[in-house]
Symmetry: C2
Subunit: 361 residues, 2 copies
Amino acid sequence: MGTLTGRLLGSASSSFRRETRTMSTFVGLAFRSHGSPRDVLAPRSFPRLGDIGRDAVRCDVIASSVNPADVNTVEGVYPLRPAPREGGFSIGGNEGVMRVTEVGSDVRGVRVGDVCVPTKAPNLGLWAEEVIAPSTAVQVVVEGDRASAIPLEKLRDLSCLSVCFMTAERLLRDFGDLREGDFVIQNGATSAVGQAVIQLCRERRLRSINLVRDVAKSSNYLKALGGDIVTDVRNVKEVCRELGIQAKVAFNCVGGESSSALAKRLEAGGTMVTYGGMSKQPVVCPTPLMIFKNIKSVGFWLSGRDGSKCSATETEGTTSYLVEKVLEGKLGVRTSIVPFSKAMTAFTEQHEGKVVFDMAQ
Amino acid sequence: MGTLTGRLLGSASSSFRRETRTMSTFVGLAFRSHGSPRDVLAPRSFPRLGDIGRDAVRCDVIASSVNPADVNTVEGVYPLRPAPREGGFSIGGNEGVMRVTEVGSDVRGVRVGDVCVPTKAPNLGLWAEEVIAPSTAVQVVVEGDRASAIPLEKLRDLSCLSVCFMTAERLLRDFGDLREGDFVIQNGATSAVGQAVIQLCRERRLRSINLVRDVAKSSNYLKALGGDIVTDVRNVKEVCRELGIQAKVAFNCVGGESSSALAKRLEAGGTMVTYGGMSKQPVVCPTPLMIFKNIKSVGFWLSGRDGSKCSATETEGTTSYLVEKVLEGKLGVRTSIVPFSKAMTAFTEQHEGKVVFDMAQ
């Protein structure tokens, strides 16, 4: 992945080996009232807890990512929000990678030095130097004795695992009964989930049709990731007709006209799965497709799936699969590393690629 | 139903007892090229077949209805069309009630004089004085010896059974696992399907929220049919919030803003079923509802359901149930009876209620 992603490899690799924090405070990016992140979010010192309790783990955050859902949480338009802490402030951030620094006395299977990720979006507040989490809210992905051999670049890729890569993998597993050779179609293909969908399709020999805003800009990159077709809303009909292909499932994170374009490329009985709405327009599906082609339109919410749909064991298995793909170098996204000391630039400046905070900078 | 429907009871009751046709031609409302019915449709004489074959029945059509799908078929925007006949003309009409006048030698269970309806939209061409149908394409609903006791008014109600009433009943049976006391919400509530949904809800103690264009005009009528709530797109939110109710399924035959309004009144996990698109706008569903409330949007097409979804036996059973409800006076729609001799007025003039052709006039 290294040649594709254009990561800014800083001088932060030492952070990972940092000794257990001894200061009495840690910094978190926090908000007390809802609004635009640039208005309501700011770095803030929080007192460290002395006693983490018997069932919890304390971790240094190595890196955490900024997802649309995190921004929506700050804005107050997301149905979940992190529990408020001291002074009514909540720390943002729901996805990242951590190193365990302390383990409660009743916790089994987690050791100091292990690298872990959150399980199933538990709202830990990962835009922070430190987190304390119930042991059930994290999953060890690299044991401590192996951790030092993992390049920082791959650790950062792991910071996009529990939300973005997990969403991509569950979309592919949970819908359309996909088999080798089948086509999937998606919009927002340059998003982190979109890039992961392309790579995970390649892993299971599915083929992907990828809609982007700017084909000239994105085509080479997405094709190098394994994307079979890269096109835009205007041309997708002609491209698919020429090749005589239809998709079995569509993944929609845009809405409006773009969702309609996806639905039109589905085969009879196909399913459009909506997991985002970046255009802020509703999901649109032509009536004749629903009636005469039996096209279904459904939603997917990683955090909201009930237990029966994806058990803890299943989530654990999916996480392990994704870790394997990351460590093999088969799964990663274009990132823009933002030093945590300059975290607010993530919300005030334009960044190319998924913003990942490096906590050590 | 009689007091509600304002039917135009003509002098046609003798038609039912009409002797077997002896002329060598019959009249059908036919089209050869697609277009607006007023442009491409016209009454036309077709030669009667002398030999109907061993597996078919010949029937006099008593009454047949004009559905949106029939108009779409003439326009060429419907995926099915009746087989062309002599001169490349197709006879329109897909729903009606018939009296058997001749039975092929191999046919069992159908006798001359029986009243029957088409099964599962077989495109018989019912805007005609006579049809010949495979015996499997019709179902006897009243046996000949009982038929003369059925008032003409109820026979006409039976003419809306195989498409409109069947659609309403299957919507209620096939979606949302509805139980006594549950709410359903629908738009286009004054349509024939909409009226049937209201009455069939009442039969199974479901409650209906009915969206109409003109509440003042439709409210009394729909409430008399059993509609619990009659309102419009503008007020439905407030009405449902005040009463603290949400619906389990929504039936959409309009699209656009109206479909969005239905989706917003669904409880978590609810389903919107689209069976029509009178506004000619696509089905619209707010993105957050799909993602965070797990609202699904699916289509329903009576003619296109595969066998596994609704077997012939199941269709027969549903038909029998609906016949019973019609004969009990618990199911019927507001009709506007148009003499078949003036059939084209159905497409050139405004009619109040479902247009039903009376073949004897």
